[in-house]
């Protein structure tokens, strides 16, 4: 990029100076790229994010978010910050191992297509030599950048990330999201109501000019609902511990503003009798997680004011005791 440390310092100051008032959490509360390395503009990039050791946990969905954010930086820079990807389609997310606080995520993305309309990409994340997650055939529609954030602040931040990198450790976790269980039929379907908070630090970062509940936090809650449901099926012995193996057909259709009330549903779909390729892959490649076997398929949906705002399918696998 040909950017010097002095430039980076200037960029950091600029990022501060153009940061919207009252958004001290900007580039902190929901930002998961500390530094961008090996950038091939518009084509590919690698990046890193240090998961603060002080956190109790770091959800796999946030690893997906980090990978998506790296792709977003490459895409936004490619179109001179006229647009930014908002909402998302992820054809396949493979959960291979769990991240842990204190680890450094090594992110990589390949941009398959990028213009003012959309970015299509794939990506993966490693930590400690173990592949944690893989994103396949993701698509982010581009919307006008200025509706969501200050383009000049984003450009300055990008320059900083590409140079010296941003200070690590500014992410302090996500406060629990209020989720109230609804009508559930064991082994068949589960429902819950998710109350998007009226205010939360992550809204200052996602996004300063138009706060939107991050889709990855919704997906995280949907996965939790699905795991609870999967654990009640007769597909495996009672007490079996389960984990997400693969999420497909993720489609986010609408913005979820602060204070939204979302009706979540999870419904069992026909199960596969044999271990899926992904479950088998997880078993063979994951050093951090217990190996998995067999799979249950669950359809997930979220509605807001009776309109479907998100849908996905989740393949759940059983953890095999080690």
């Amino acid at each position: 990029m040909g950017i010097t440390a002095a430039d980076a310092g200037a960029s950091a100051r600029m990022a501060d100076s153009v940061q919207p008032a009252g958004t001290t959490e900007h580039f902190a509360a929901f930002s998961f790229v500390d530094r961008i390395i090996d950038l091939v503009p518009g084509k590919s990039a690698r990046g890193v994010f240090a998961i603060p050791a002080a956190l109790d946990t770091f959800a796999s969905c946030l690893v997906a978010e980090a990978t998506g954010q790296l792709a977003a930086w490459v895409a936004m820079a490619h179109i001179a910050f006229r647009g930014r990807p908002v909402a998302a389609l992820a054809n396949e997310t493979r959960f291979l191992a769990d991240p842990a606080p204190g680890q450094t995520l090594e992110l990589a993305v390949d941009i398959e297509h990028c213009d003012d309309e959309a970015v299509a990409y794939r990506g993966q994340a490693h930590a400690g030599g173990v592949k944690l997650l893989e994103l396949v055939d993701c698509l982010g529609p581009m919307l006008p950048c200025a509706e969501f954030d200050a383009p000049e602040a984003l450009a300055a931040r990008f320059d900083l990330l590409c140079a010296a990198g941003a200070p690590a450790g500014r992410f302090h976790g996500i406060a629990p999201i209020r989720l109230v269980s609804g009508e559930t039929i064991a082994g068949e379907r589960a429902a819950a109501t998710l109350f998007v908070p009226e205010s939360a630090p992550f809204f200052a970062d996602h996004f300063p000019r138009r706060p939107v509940f991050p889709a990855t936090l919704l997906l995280d809650q949907q996965i939790r609902l699905a795991l609870d449901l999967a654990a009640t099926t007769a597909h495996w012995p009672a007490g079996t511990r389960v984990r997400p193996a693969r999420m497909t057909h993720v489609k986010v259709r609408a913005f979820m503003p602060p204070g939204s009330v979302l009706e979540l549903s999870a419904e069992m779909a026909p199960m596969s009798a044999e271990p899926s390729p992904t479950a088998a892959s997880a078993a063979s490649t994951s050093a951090a997680s217990a190996p998995t076997t067999a799979a249950a398929n669950i359809r997930l949906a979220a509605h807001m004011d009776a309109k479907q705002v998100a849908s996905a399918r989740l393949e759940v696998a059983a953890k095999v005791p080690t």
Binding site: A87, E117, A120, D137, H249, K251
Partner: protein, 142 residues
């Protein structure tokens, strides 16, 4: 641009894969994807679904589908000014549109028709024609 013609055989050849791709994108059964179904009215497609379908079709058929190609194709030999005036499809434009979207039942062609409402006419067969056109361009270029 000359008005593209598509034979039934050409459409039949790509339809199964187009229908499967659309069913996957829309989360519906492939049996629901009829050639003349309205993607918006009958299958509940939204703008994000159209984006999804175009990218899926590009991957499935290994072709590039330029954005806005459907309306451009539908316009045929007409200039933009001949096709629409102030966002409304002209009489000549409607003739061209009916010819290009021959699979769409007549009752769906409302007049006056706004250009922004043309996507309401889109059917799986419309996308078959899009794919066939892109395949022809690949052959012509190769």
């Amino acid at each position: 641009m000359a008005q593209a013609q598509f034979s039934k055989e050409e459409i039949d050849a790509v339809f199964p894969a187009v229908a499967a791709t659309m069913a996957d994108a829309l989360g519906c059964d492939v049996e629901e994807v009829k050639p003349d179904a309205s993607l918006i009215e009958d299958l509940g497609a939204e703008s994000i679904d159209f984006l999804d379908m175009v990218f899926r079709l590009e991957r499935a058929f290994k072709v590039k589908i330029p954005r806005g190609k459907i309306v451009e194709n539908a316009r045929g030999t007409l200039s933009e000014a001949e096709f629409e005036q102030h966002g409304i499809v002209t009489e000549a434009g409607m003739v061209q549109l009916r010819a290009y979207m021959s699979e769409v039942p007549e009752a769906r062609f409302k007049t006056p028709m706004k250009v922004k409402d043309i996507p309401r006419l889109f059917t799986p067969e419309t996308f078959c024609k899009l794919v066939i056109g892109a395949q022809r361009e690949v052959k012509a270029g190769g």
